[in-house]
């Protein structure tokens, strides 16, 4: 089994302070811009949402998902597959290529979780400064969503359930794209190429999910379930592909490029 020690080693080796600092600053900036927009909307139209709903709207915005947060995420995780010249020794220590890959995947999962926790927390904290927290739906949010085409039946569930599912879907999407990035890293051996390729594929994939499959539109549990199902299936296939590449690859001592 992959040991906790190996995972801890992976996490500490691939943690890039500069990238994370830049990401946090970008989160804060994007959040301020988004919250400012909702403050203006509230001031001019007297439509006010709760802090949870604002966070949901910010994190569910199609432009943000595809063009802001996804590039930041790929920028953060593209270095996971690359080690310094001890990479091949790491494979030997894991005693199995499969275990090595699982260790990398667990690291990816950890960073994706951390990314979303930081993203959600920052956005929620800043939104909560202005908009009140509520465990129920705000009446304005309900009416606006129904006016924009949502079925009123989707609001039978609590905000935590609905918004949690939506964030979970975005998480799954990003994880799936992150796994694709792992595959490109295995194929290209170069961080810059892997980042570039995964960025293009990631944006295209997100665009398909958002615009073709209406990823961010419907809030029903059923629609979340089938979208996440597609993403889970794609993740399994990607992992199998990555495993095949890992077993075929010659592990030489190589530096991060």
């Amino acid at each position: 089994m992959v040991t906790a020690k190996m995972i801890r080693y992976n996490i500490s080796e691939s943690f890039n302070l500069v990238r994370w600092c830049l990401t946090i600053i970008a989160f804060a900036f994007a959040c301020v811009v988004s919250v400012a927009k909702y403050i203006q909307i509230s001031d001019m139209t007297a439509i006010t949402f709760s802090s949870l709903e604002i966070t949901y709207l910010i994190l569910n915005d199609t432009v943000s998902i595809i063009y802001i947060y996804l590039p930041l995420y790929l920028f953060l995780i593209c270095g996971i597959m690359f080690d310094d010249n001890f990479g091949s020794l790491e494979v030997i220590k894991c005693q199995s290529r499969g275990k090595w890959l699982v260790g990398k995947w667990v690291t990816l999962l950890f960073y994706t979780l951390l990314f979303f926790v930081a993203l959600f927390t920052l956005n929620f904290l800043i939104s909560d400064q202005v908009f009140p927290f509520s465990a129920s739906w705000s009446s304005d949010f309900l009416k606006v969503q129904v006016t924009m085409g949502q079925s009123a039946r989707n609001f039978i569930y609590t905000p935590f359930q609905t918004i949690g599912l939506s964030l979970g879907s975005v998480f799954s999407l990003y994880l799936a794209v992150g796994m694709l990035s792992m595959v490109f890293s295995l194929l290209t051996h170069k961080e810059a190429y892997a980042l570039f390729l995964s960025l293009i594929i990631g944006i295209l994939t997100s665009a398909v999910f958002v615009y073709v499959l209406d990823f961010t539109s419907q809030m029903s549990v059923a629609s979340f379930a089938w979208r996440n199902g597609i993403l889970f299936a794609s993740m399994v296939l990607t992992f199998i592909g990555a495993l095949w590449i890992t077993y075929k690859r010659d592990f030489n001592i190589e530096r991060k490029e």
């Binding site: 920052l122 009416k143 129904v146």
Partner: protein, 399 residues
């Protein structure tokens, strides 16, 4: 281990700094929002939004009845801004206060000078609509008859109907001049008539409805330019009217173009949840100032044409654009046997429709204002003027 802890420390510091900076920025925005004075645009937007959301409310209630599940809802409002730390630099504050006092004094002196100058020269129409501070609560209690009365009053005392004046004119020279002015004004009335109809129902507004409007306005503007390009030969005042109409049409077309662009942008937006708020924000920021510019151009044009309509007449009944806006701001000043609603009218708040009390009708007349006195005198003078003309007509026919 130590290295990792240091990295975490640096990351925590960056996160804290980013949060703090974001918090201060947001707080300043909330302060600005709380300080902003509400205008008539806010009340209109709020009313329109509430009407649009009423249908959603019905659908929600219907779903609750069908599923027999209560959808919990809660009214929320923006939190007040965080208290700001007091400034420590007191000597600078005193200097700032002194400067402010000096500036206020200078501004007051300048205002007095401006008032004196304006009394000596003709009354200008710039800013008559721009500075209007209207309150929707004033109009909630008005009946259709009240609005008709106000409309007729404004037509009799400012928005003179050119057709009536040239029809009543007996002197052939003045008749031709008044008819020409009226014909020129009709192009403007023709171009804005459809806009006024559309504005009554904001829901129907979209780029498809605005496009034919803009095309029609373009056509009328081009026809006017071509038809009256030599009107300056009729007199300097007609040249001024020609310029005013062209200026009005340019401003009006620019406003229509802005509106078209706004609606096209909204129709292309991907986040449909933001369509309504973006529309209303754009209307408030871009379109309403342009509409006020159109109104100001309209006043400018009306001043030119009114001068021609009242040739040969006593013009005491005519009021100024500022007085027109005063009446629109406070229609009760001219309504007989009417008093304003008893709901207090705070400048920075908007009173909800449900909170407005019905007007209190009393048997005794309200105290007469100067405007009311002027309107009675003006109206009588206007009627005397038309009677005088009809008497002259009868005399001339008798002779």
């Amino acid at each position: 281990m130590i290295r990792n802890l240091m990295k975490l420390g640096v990351l925590a510091a960056v996160t804290g700094f980013s949060l703090n900076f974001a918090s201060q920025t947001i707080n300043e925005m909330v302060i600005a929002v709380h300080k902003r004075e509400k205008t008539i645009a806010d009340a209109i937007i709020k009313q329109q939004v509430q009407e649009m959301l009423k249908e959603a409310e019905k659908e929600i209630e219907k779903v609750q009845e069908e599923t027999k599940i209560e959808i919990k809802q809660e009214e929320v409002a923006i939190k007040p801004p965080l208290p700001q730390k007091p400034k420590k630099d007191k000597p600078k504050e005193e200097k700032v206060e002194e400067e402010k006092v000096e500036q206020v004094e200078v501004a007051e002196v300048q205002d007095e000078m401006i008032i004196e100058e304006s009394e000596q020269t003709e009354v200008t129409v710039d800013g008559a609509a721009t500075d209007a501070n209207l309150d929707m609560t004033t109009y909630y209690a008005l009946t259709k008859e009240d609005i008709t009365y106000i409309g007729e009053y404004l037509v009799d005392h400012y928005f003179l109907f050119g057709y009536e004046y040239y029809q009543a004119e007996t002197d052939p020279v003045r008749y031709a001049r008044k008819k020409l002015a009226s014909d020129m004004e009709d192009h403007v009335i023709g171009s804005i008539g459809d806009s006024l109809t559309l504005l009554r129902d904001m829901k129907s507004l979209n780029s498809a409805t605005l496009t034919p409007l803009a095309e029609n306005a373009h056509l009328l503007a081009a026809q006017f330019k071509e038809t009256y390009k030599d009107v300056s030969s009729q007199g300097e005042e007609f040249a001024r009217i020609y310029e005013s109409v062209n200026s009005f049409m340019d401003t009006y077309l620019a406003t229509l173009n802005k509106a078209e662009e706004t609606f096209k942008m909204l129709e292309e937006t991907t986040n449909k949840a933001l369509v309504l708020p973006m529309l209303l924000k754009s209307m408030n920021q871009d379109l309403l100032p342009s509409v006020k510019d159109v109104l100001n151009e309209g006043f400018d044009l009306k001043e030119q044409t009114n001068k021609i309509y009242i040739e040969g007449l006593e013009a005491d009944f005519l009021i100024t654009p500022e007085e027109v806006m005063d009446i629109i701001e406070n229609p009760y000043s001219i309504l007989p046997n009417k008093v304003p609603p008893t709901t207090p009218n705070e400048p920075n708040t908007v009173v909800l429709e449900e909170e407005i009390q019905p007007p209190v009708t009393t048997t005794s007349k309200p105290a007469e204002s100067d405007v009311l006195k002027e309107s009675e005198v003006g109206h009588a003078t206007h009627e005397e003027a038309t009677n005088l003309q009809s008497e002259e007509t009868l005399e001339s026919e008798g002779n």
